[in-house]
Structures are given as structure tokens and as C-alpha cells.
């Protein structure tokens, strides 16, 4: 358990405790079931956006948790903000608070004006183009799989101009909603047509200067960073539930935990959780730093790989009980199966890591690994 007391800064600890309290208070089983589209949920469409919960989170200032104090935020350390996001993942929070926390901080880092409204991140995919316009810029493109795209107040996306130069764009008013899909966990993933949307010049910005060129952070990489941290939370939930079940459930006259085969499965799952956490910890420590994109690629790849193994073991341990919507295990596993493919699957990020490593050659690999961990490569 990462007790809030472990956070070095007392303010960080207070914020994490506050999140824990708000989630415990508001995330009732009925609300979660309604948002997940679980059996028995009747008012699903109306409950997809739990407005009261968002209001409670926003009133605590959490959307701007990672924005520096000088710019109106709480100014949490990125490693603490990552813990906040893991708690959201652990609790299966059906709101884009994680996207908003990271997106607002990215936007603030570009010099853009931030607001406490819900913000979503547009995954990579087809390029959105921008062209100069009398009132700023005009957009051309359709975006898909946008988390809560139809409900949030603003989107952040990657766009390119006519010269192919990348920019970050904030759209204060979403484009035309074309279609609403849901991921495997029932979270809305929307398609929006942005063609003809006009944004003021101040909302088209260069990536922050964390690293030049190919290493610059994009909305896609920040989304991958968010999903990696959320996955750590869901992995913890899945492993914790499996450990508890193995100790409580009796079969053949003794607890499941006493069977060696069960012990080995849980040890294997624990190894994946530990490795995924180590990779996500590194990415958390690299926020705002030239290593961000590579460390995030590694975290998304390693957490995504762990997700499949740990979800499979979690279900195997829980038996048929865990295969029902009556048991809460699915809140973690359906999200793991969704989040590992959002903002680039593990295979996509592995491919990018592999291309970078091969381009550098064998001798460059070790210095790269040392630099990633914060040493002088």
C-alpha cells in the first residue's frame, strides 16, 4: 500500500488522502455498475457522466493537480500525480480525471492557458491538419476513440501544419459528435469530426521543450503515460483480489493459497506487477524531462504486457465466480484489456523502442539504459 505518508511533501500526502476519501465516498457499487453497463443497470446512458462526482473532484482542485502553483494548480510532483492516477485506476473511476490531470499539465508546459474543466486527450491515428485562418487556425480531420469525447469541455490533440510540423492543439468546444463507442469496460470512446473547427492562435502551440525533435512529448505519448499509470492501479486491484480470494476460498478441504500451483501463478503475477510498476515509476520520474517519451514507451509496453498475464491469472484464480458481473474483478480486468490497447498498444510502443535501439546499434544500448535510469550514459 502506498500510504500517503510515503509522499515526501505533506501537501502531496493531503491530496492523495483527499482522492482516496472522495473515491470511497462517491464510487458506490451502483454507480460503478451503471457506468460499466453491468447487469441490472437501467439508467446507463444518463449515468455515463457521473456529474456529482466530477464536481466533487473539480472542487478539490484535482484537475490541475500537476499544474504548477504559479499557474493556478496544486503543483504536485509528477511522481505523486502518477500515484493519484494509479488510485483512479485502482478504483475504476469512470471519469477522465487522469486525462485532465496530465493534459492540463502538458498544456501549461506549452504556455497555454489552463482551466479546471474536464479535458480529454485524442489518441494518435490519422493526422489532424491545421491551416491558418482569419481567427487563428482551422482544423481538418476526424478523430476516433476519444475518451469521453462527447462529454468533456475540451480536447487536446496532435496536429500537423502544411509543412508537416507537429503542434499541440486545444479545442475548447468539441467538434461534431459522429459516433459513440465504448471500450470493453463500458467507458465512452467517441468519434468526432473536427473539420471546419476554428481555434484561436493561442490554442495552437509547440510541444514543450522537454526534448527536441523526435523525443518531444505528444498528446499520444502523454495519453500512453496516463494509461500506464492507470494500469498499475488496475494490476494492483487484480492481484490484490486474487490474493484475497486464494486465502478465503476453500477447495478440497483447504484454502486455494495452500496449493503449490496457485502459489506459483500468484508469484508469476506478482512478478509482472512488480516489473510493470518499476517501468511506470521510471516514466513518472521522467515527466518534464528529455527521457519522457522513451520512458513512457517502455512503461506502456511493459504495463501492457503485464495486463494480459495478470488479468488471465486473476480470472483463473477466481474461477467461474470471477467471470460474472456480480463479482467486481471485471472492473479491473475489462479496463486492463481496454487500456493496454489505448494510446498505442504494447506492440506499437515496442516497435518504436526496437526501431530506436536498432538505429543506435548494440554499443549504444547500454549507455541508453543507464541514462534512462538517471545516470550519465
Amino acid at each position: 500500500m502506498d500510504h500517503a505518508a510515503e509522499a515526501g511533501d505533506p501537501v502531496d500526502g493531503i491530496v492523495l488522502d483527499q482522492v482516496e476519501r472522495l473515491l470511497a465516498q462517491h464510487l458506490t457499487p451502483a454507480l460503478l455498475a451503471a457506468c460499466d453497463g453491468a447487469a441490472g443497470a437501467t439508467a446507463r446512458a444518463a449515468d455515463l457522466w457521473p456529474a456529482d462526482l466530477w464536481t466533487a473532484l473539480a472542487e478539490s482542485g484535482l484537475p490541475l493537480a500537476l499544474v504548477p502553483e504559479a499557474e493556478g494548480g496544486i503543483g504536485l510532483a509528477a511522481t505523486t500525480a502518477a500515484r493519484l492516477i494509479r488510485r483512479c485506476g485502482r478504483a475504476a473511476l469512470p471519469l477522465p480525471l487522469p486525462e485532465t490531470v496530465a493534459g492540463a499539465a502538458l498544456w501549461a508546459a506549452t504556455g497555454g492557458q489552463v482551466a479546471e474543466d474536464a479535458l480529454s486527450l485524442v489518441p494518435g491515428g490519422g493526422p489532424v491538419r491545421i491551416a491558418p485562418h482569419a481567427e487563428g487556425f482551422v482544423l481538418d480531420g476526424r478523430v476516433a476513440q476519444v475518451p469521453w469525447g462527447g462529454s468533456v469541455a475540451a480536447l487536446l490533440l496532435d496536429a500537423v501544419d502544411a509543412a508537416g510540423i507537429p503542434h499541440l492543439v486545444r479545442i475548447a468546444a468539441p467538434g461534431t459528435l459522429r459516433d459513440t463507442h465504448h471500450n470493453l469496460a463500458g467507458e465512452p470512446r467517441d468519434t468526432l469530426d473536427l473539420t471546419g473547427c476554428i481555434v484561436p492562435a493561442a490554442d495552437v502551440r509547440a510541444a514543450p521543450g522537454w526534448a527536441a525533435g523526435a523525443g518531444a512529448p505528444s498528446v499520444e505519448s502523454v495519453g500512453a503515460w496516463v494509461r500506464a499509470q492507470q494500469m498499475v492501479g488496475a494490476l494492483e486491484t487484480c492481484l490484490g483480489s486474487a490474493l484475497a480470494h486464494a486465502q478465503e476460498r476453500q477447495q478440497f478441504g483447504r484454502p486455494l493459497a495452500k496449493f503449490q500451483a496457485i502459489q506459483h501463478m500468484l508469484a508469476e503475477a506478482a512478478g509482472h506487477v512488480a516489473a510493470a510498476t518499476a517501468a511506470a515509476d521510471l516514466a513518472a520520474a521522467c515527466w518534464g524531462d528529455p527521457r519522457f517519451v522513451l520512458a513512457t514507451a517502455i512503461a506502456k509496453a511493459r504495463c501492457g504486457e503485464a495486463a494480459g498475464h495478470v488479468a488471465a491469472i486473476g480470472h483463473q484464480i477466481h474461477g467461474a465466480m470471477g467471470f460474472t458481473q456480480e463479482h467486481p474483478l471485471h472492473r479491473a480486468t475489462r479496463r486492463l484489456w481496454s487500456w493496454r490497447d489505448e494510446f498505442g498498444s504494447d506492440a506499437l510502443w515496442q516497435e518504436r523502442i526496437g526501431r530506436a535501439v536498432c538505429a543506435g546499434g548494440g554499443a549504444a544500448l547500454w549507455p541508453m539504459l543507464v541514462r534512462l535510469r538517471g545516470g550519465a550514459g
Binding site: 512478478g271 504494447d346 523502442i353 526496437g354 544500448l365
Partner: protein, 383 residues
């Protein structure tokens, strides 16, 4: 909710500062042709290399200066260790003494043993072997049967040890032997002694490994006499000592960097423009390795703070062994070659051949994977 005592703090500046000096030493060694990275590993016994490493101040880093050491932190040693592994340096003549036997003797040995042995270890002139396993004991150390019996101011040992790496070349074994009854938990009655391999009563039988290489041995003690001053730790305290020693043995980067040079040769063999399959699998291995490097550095930090992180150390070994055993299997799928130990001039084929034949040992040495998973399960509260 279970979580582990890992963290992502960078290594301290004094540890990172040591990196430049160990790299300078290794660059000079390679330039002089003293070792060929893909053919050597941390178990390769090269007494001359270890003497030069000792002279360069790279052995016994954590031992006090009074015993010839350098009084540095465990994290400085960690950096030296990982640089040696990444370079494929032949560290077998000092590895075990530096990693575990020297520190054990320093913590639990007699003053006479410390004065006689530690300065030689630090100079790279004194090699150790691990005398834990016995025929029929495997990973079950409580089954140790080799017995020491008191005789005047010393002990007489009879029995045998097996799988002793480089026993035919080392100066000493740190041997775990039975001096009393096991007791109800089977952990009692075990004691560690420093065994002088040159003394009468010790004989060595070679055991060739899959590649035909002579690294393992069986060691026989026939009325072997050892002075009480060579006892390490209290009589009957052996179980606690080897448990502590294993945390050092299991968590180091030697548990996942054994075939690092194969990964380097693979990347070079694929070249700068990988196909998608090659890129994805290479990226997957690098992501796994990065996580392991973070975990291992975290455990090193805990050990340096005096914590014995048994579960985290076991996790590093279990996840790490899984990684190092997978690397040759992935490599052969990415580059269509036939592995060989004698493909002169083809570093990738040689590295693949050597690692393929060594890989089965990765999940055995230092405790089998299945035993390790039992240790992890206990740490998770399942046993």
C-alpha cells in the same frame, strides 16, 4: 493491497561517478585484447583479469579499508557490477568472493579469518566457491548431510558438495555443513566454515556442462581438518546466514544480464533497419530489461540501507531469470542462423550457441525458479 519496496530514485552521484573509472578500466582491457565480450561472462575464470581489477580498486568496494577494501557504498559496487556484466568481462575469479563470501566473512567471520583473507580478496588474488548444494540436496538446503565434528581446537569435516563453480581453481569454499540436529523447522544445526582447497582431505571431481566446459565440480571432504577460527558465524547459525547471503546472490544484475552480450550482438546483426517483427521483439526485450534494471537498483538500495528484502530479491531473480532464458529463444526467431560454438568470426552465432547451452542453468543456480516462487508466495502471505 500488496505493494513492493521498489522505487525509481536514481543512483546517488557517488555511485554514478564510479561509472567512468570502471569503464576506463574495461575499455583498456578490451583494447589490450584481454577478453572477447561475447565469449566470456561473469563466470569465466580469469585470474589475471581479476588481479588487474583488484589493482584498479574494483573489488571489495564495500569492505573497510582496514581489510584492504574501499569503504564505499553498496550502490558504488552495484554500478561496478553492472558495468562488468554489460561489458561481458571475465569476472569468475573474483565474482563470488566479492558478491557474497567476502561480505559474509566481514560480517560474521573471526578477526583472524578477516585479516588472513579479506585483503587478498580485495587484491583479486583470492577466489571463493559456494559450498551449499550437495548430491541429492538440490535447492533443499535443509537436507545438507556433510558433517563437521569437533576435534580439539578445530573440526573434522566429512561429506561432499556439488555444482561448485570453479572449485578446481578457487582458493576457498564457504561451506554449509551440519554440526547438530535439524530441529523441528529443519533449519537448525547448520554452520558455515571456510574450507581451504589446498589443504589435505579435499578432492575435486570435474563435471562438464552441456557445452563441454569445465565449470562445475563435485568436492569431497575426507577427514578434512579446519581450525575453529575458520568458522563463520555461531555454531548452528548457518541457516540464517545463507538466507541473508542469498538476498545478495539473488537480486543482483547477474540474474538478468548473463546473456546481455547476445542482445548486443543481436541488435548489431539486425542492423539499423529492422523489420516489424524484429523491432517489436527487440523493443519488448528492452522494456523488460529496463524494468529489471530499475527493480535491481531498488533492491541494491534497500540492501545498502541494511534491509534484507527477501521477497523483492526473489522477484528480481524470478522475473530476471525468465528474461535471460527468453533472450536466446527470441534471438533465434529474429535472425535465421544456426547457433555454433565454433563459428569463428561470427559473433552472433557464437553468442547464440554459448547462451543456448548455458541458459538452462539460469533458472537453477541461486535457487530454482520453483523454489523462488515459493519464497515469493510466502512473502505474499500465502504460506
Amino acid at each position: 493491497m500488496h505493494s513492493f519496496r521498489f522505487s525509481a530514485e536514481p543512483l546517488p552521484p557517488e555511485a554514478e561517478a564510479a561509472r567512468a573509472s570502471v569503464r576506463a578500466f574495461l575499455d583498456a582491457e578490451r583494447a589490450a585484447g584481454h577478453f572477447v565480450p561475447h565469449r566470456t561472462s561473469w563466470t569465466t575464470f580469469d585470474a589475471a583479469f581479476s588481479r588487474r581489477a583488484g589493482a584498479a580498486g574494483l573489488i571489495g568496494l564495500t569492505l573497510p579499508e582496514a581489510y584492504g577494501g574501499h569503504g564505499r557504498s553498496g550502490l558504488v559496487r552495484f554500478v561496478v557490477t553492472e558495468e562488468m556484466l554489460a561489458a561481458g568481462a571475465p569476472c569468475g575469479a573474483h565474482w563470488i568472493a566479492d558478491r557474497q563470501s567476502g561480505p559474509q566473512i566481514h560480517r560474521h567471520g573471526t578477526e583472524a579469518a578477516k585479516r588472513a583473507i579479506l585483503p587478498r580478496i580485495c587484491r583479486g588474488e583470492c577466489a571463493f566457491g559456494i559450498g551449499m548444494s550437495e548430491p541429492n540436496s538440490g535447492s533443499d538446503l535443509a537436507a545438507v548431510r556433510t558433517r563437521a565434528v569437533r576435534d580439539g581446537d578445530g573440526w573434522v569435516i566429512n561429506g561432499s558438495k556439488i555444482w561448485t563453480t570453479n572449485a578446481h581453481q578457487v582458493d576457498y569454499l564457504l561451506a554449509l555443513v551440519r554440526t547438530g540436529e535439524p530441529g523441528p523447522d529443519r533449519h537448525g544445526g547448520l554452520t558455515q566454515f571456510i574450507v581451504d582447497m589446498a589443504a589435505p582431505g579435499v578432492t575435486v571431481r570435474p563435471i562438464l556442462d552441456l557445452s563441454g566446459h569445465h565449470e562445475f565440480n563435485e568436492v569431497f571432504f575426507t577427514d578434512y581438518r579446519v581450525a575453529d577460527a575458520m568458522r563463520v558465524g555461531a555454531e548452528g547459525a548457518g541457516w540464517g546466514l545463507v538466507t541473508e547471503e542469498l538476498a545478495f546472490e539473488r537480486s543482483g544484475p547477474d540474474r538478468f544480464l548473463s546473456d546481455y552480450r547476445l542482445l548486443v550482438e543481436l541488435v548489431d546483426r539486425i542492423g539499423p533497419e529492422p523489420d516489424r517483427f524484429q523491432a517489436v521483439e527487440t523493443g519488448r526485450m528492452v522494456a523488460q530489461l529496463t524494468a529489471l534494471l530499475g527493480m535491481s537498483a531498488s533492491v541494491a538500495r534497500l540492501l545498502d540501507q541494511g534491509v534484507v528484502p527477501g521477497v523483492e530479491a526473489a522477484l528480481v531473480k524470478d522475473v530476471g531469470n525468465g528474461f535471460e532464458r527468453a533472450v536466446p529463444e527470441i534471438a533465434r526467431r529474429l535472425v535465421p542462423v544456426e547457433p555454433s560454438l565454433t563459428a569463428q568470426g561470427d559473433a552472433f552465432r557464437e553468442a547464440l550457441g554459448g547462451v543456448t547451452l548455458r541458459a538452462p542453468s539460469f533458472t537453477l543456480r541461486g535457487g530454482t525458479r520453483e523454489v523462488l516462487r515459493g519464497v515469493i508466495a510466502r512473502g505474499l502471505g500465502l504460506r
